[in-house]
Symmetry: C2
Subunit: 533 residues, 2 copies
Amino acid sequence: MVRKYDIFELTLNGPKDGNPFVDVDLRAVFTYMNRKHTVSGFYDGNGIYKIRFMPCREGVWKYETQCNVDELNGVTGEFTCTEAAPGEHGPVRVHNQFHFAHDDGTPFYPVGTTAYAWTHQQPEIVEQTLKTLKDSPFNKIRMCVFPKHYVYNLNEPPLYPYEGGLIEGVKAEDIRYAGPAFAGAENTNYKFDYMRFNPNFWRDFETRIAQLRDLGIQADIIIFHPYDRWGFSRMEEPAIQLYLRYLVARLGSFSNVWWSMANEYDLFRGRTEQDWERWAYTIVEWDPYEHLRSIHNCTKLYDHSKGWITHVSIQRIDYHSHVELVAKWRERWQKPVVVDEICYEGNIDHGWGNITGEEMTKRFWDVTVRGGYCTHGETYLRDDEVLWWAKGGWLTGSSPARIAFLRRIVEEMGYIDPKPISPMDWDLTWGYSGRQFTYQSETPFGTMATQAAEKMICYFSFAQPAKRSFMLPPDKKYEIEVIDTWNMTIEKLEGTYSGRVDIKLPGRPYVAVRFTMVGDGSSGWFSHTSLTS
Amino acid sequence: MVRKYDIFELTLNGPKDGNPFVDVDLRAVFTYMNRKHTVSGFYDGNGIYKIRFMPCREGVWKYETQCNVDELNGVTGEFTCTEAAPGEHGPVRVHNQFHFAHDDGTPFYPVGTTAYAWTHQQPEIVEQTLKTLKDSPFNKIRMCVFPKHYVYNLNEPPLYPYEGGLIEGVKAEDIRYAGPAFAGAENTNYKFDYMRFNPNFWRDFETRIAQLRDLGIQADIIIFHPYDRWGFSRMEEPAIQLYLRYLVARLGSFSNVWWSMANEYDLFRGRTEQDWERWAYTIVEWDPYEHLRSIHNCTKLYDHSKGWITHVSIQRIDYHSHVELVAKWRERWQKPVVVDEICYEGNIDHGWGNITGEEMTKRFWDVTVRGGYCTHGETYLRDDEVLWWAKGGWLTGSSPARIAFLRRIVEEMGYIDPKPISPMDWDLTWGYSGRQFTYQSETPFGTMATQAAEKMICYFSFAQPAKRSFMLPPDKKYEIEVIDTWNMTIEKLEGTYSGRVDIKLPGRPYVAVRFTMVGDGSSGWFSHTSLTS
């Protein structure tokens, strides 16, 4: 018996000789009703072979192995998939064009953070990271498969994904860490056998994925990244294909996996769009669950219209112009937009890592009310150089509490879509949720067709108005809440409101106003987004 | 005897009958050595005619009148122009392509504010405005000739520029002030004779210009604006030509006059670019002093490459993207850039009038380090509705003190020009002053030709780094100051610095670092910009 969205694991004994990682092509076909999934197995060392499968439907599943080694070929069996464990809703998928939901329909609102190399640290730090995540608002984390070589992250990882390591005579402490070794730099200190994985590394890595899953956190797994002194970013085609298939075979059955083809794909030297497309389609081919897929840029946006890309994973490419573009990015690619790098809260000496908690919170709000999703990171200097964005550890910034507050608001509202800017509120950003409708409204520009919705929220960002007038549909009643997004207060105004409303505001920055339809106006025609939120 | 840059005024008696404003064409030719200026006279009522002239060279000037009325024709005389009064440096002109200097070469760094209708208020408020300006950092003020009809500014002015007023039977208190009456709206409440000026209005207005001059403040006179319920924005061509010539004749001789053809020129209905060009050339024709000329936009930038435009007077046209474009605007138009509307510090219910003092200060810095100049305004709600930006009165915001601090820094540095962004400081804005030079520098990207200058300043804007490394020319010595632009502190580091420097920073937003060359490196080759600063 396996619970829905959990992992069925078939363990088989097979040959140890030669190179089982390369020589043995093991698969299994899992069948339920008219569903049929071909799943890759993998070699786990010591003559042990495994096939993992995540059933997404309850009932009896049958399987049969296929292998070029007789003793692993034609193994059959079946198991019953029962109800999902409480709180387990299955993999996240695109929902309503610009949003996300779990496989069982439960809405998922990504609230991301970033700790690229958290699994490559000493165990006590790894455990601390999990503890921090448990108490944080974050339900998605960007993290690398390969260890990371970059500022504030120059330590050697405890484990390597491949057999090999430092070449004879070189000591880790002798290597001069002269800044980032972006992919393509020569490396003469390490030697790895890219045809032989190190199962210890992978067992450790997948334990972390499982721990995240049990915390309800999506692992946005970064398959390649360019911050490398070991050579993992410069592997050649056969090694890459072997890696991708091994990765999917081991990790694809975890319900909380997202595939991020690269961090800053455009910093790799000598890699072409054709390369990224080919590797992405290897993932598409071997992943029967269709986990979310994306690719993340440095200075050059990827063509997110490509068919394999499920959602836009974007890093701002202009230091000043970014969050206000989210609605345009949605328009442009017609996919969910996740702003996966918007600078980090911190105080380091790099422009991407020294914004204030206020600014980080503002960017989260600016993205959210425009119908996008945002990802956090933290880079405060520490004597021990354990900066959250690289190594995990501790969060000390001021934005996470505010992001938790925002998450609560989003969960109350459901999917938020941006409202086109009207002449009256060119300075304001409006997010709508629930059913939208149009009514005729009197404005200084004449009578105009005006959009409204069951739930509406507007955000004043850096502005500090002490008052504002709003036009509500005259025949609907709304409750109004004034939200201080920084001080995390919600002040509900007495009564209900229709037509023109003059509201007193705090005269401080970072204020939002939420309008929620009540009474007659809202009965009988909630949309499905409202029903599931 | 007239002091240089002061006004020589010739008063003549002439006909009172008919319409002297239209019927009498009075001019004078002023001659000094090979200089010859033709100046328009004007009718001041009661049979009094005046010709005003501002001499910009010391020595004996001669004049002779020309008029279509015999008794005013052929009047001759001379006067001696002596040294300018202390502190009087003459009209401001464009200097060094992107900057300004007075006629005598003294640098002028515009630090603007805005009080559109301050001269149209009751005398006690007007006097209060002058008192406030005296203690403020502002040396330029944007102000309208015509009274203004707009939110928070609906009162009737004490004086009209023309004969006429409310039509019989209409009382000021009966007029329904239904929002802005942008130019082109019908007006049935007032009637003016656009062929007959009201000398009382003009005497009052020019008194205010003189008072500004005596405070060392440039009057950026807005010739047309669209916020109008009287009809002044809808005058027809003969009236406009008469108005422009009268304006120049009365005010052109004030050393502190700038001509702003319009505020938000693109809000006038039915006015074409040809109209604005024609009216601008009327100013060019009648103004012998070549006072600065500009035109200010709402949502559509004017073509600032036009020959008559001396400097770019710009209002941001995007709510989010503006100050970071200043260096590009300089490039584009090859003229000084004055950001004459960048939102106002305040808390009103309009997006253009509710930014914080921090944000206003940041925008000033962001504009300044990019080699531009910035203009302030204040819109805090008051029970008496005397908001500075419209009526003048009092300043209560937090930005003016910081703008005074910035003004001091600019005056110390001299003209600031932006440095092109290098790969190392894509997040930083650099302003350079004094002589610039290139040297070879070691960077993570290899040896690169790098620009430096005698005086350099970088601004961290919203970022809050706790440290930063800088590369200085290895063979020059610099003093370094860490400037907290919000708390208005300057911390000078001990000693002098060359080559790579690691600096501890406050870890707060709004910090700048200034580098000033000392010792050998700086001797013998200061540029003229340094000498005059």
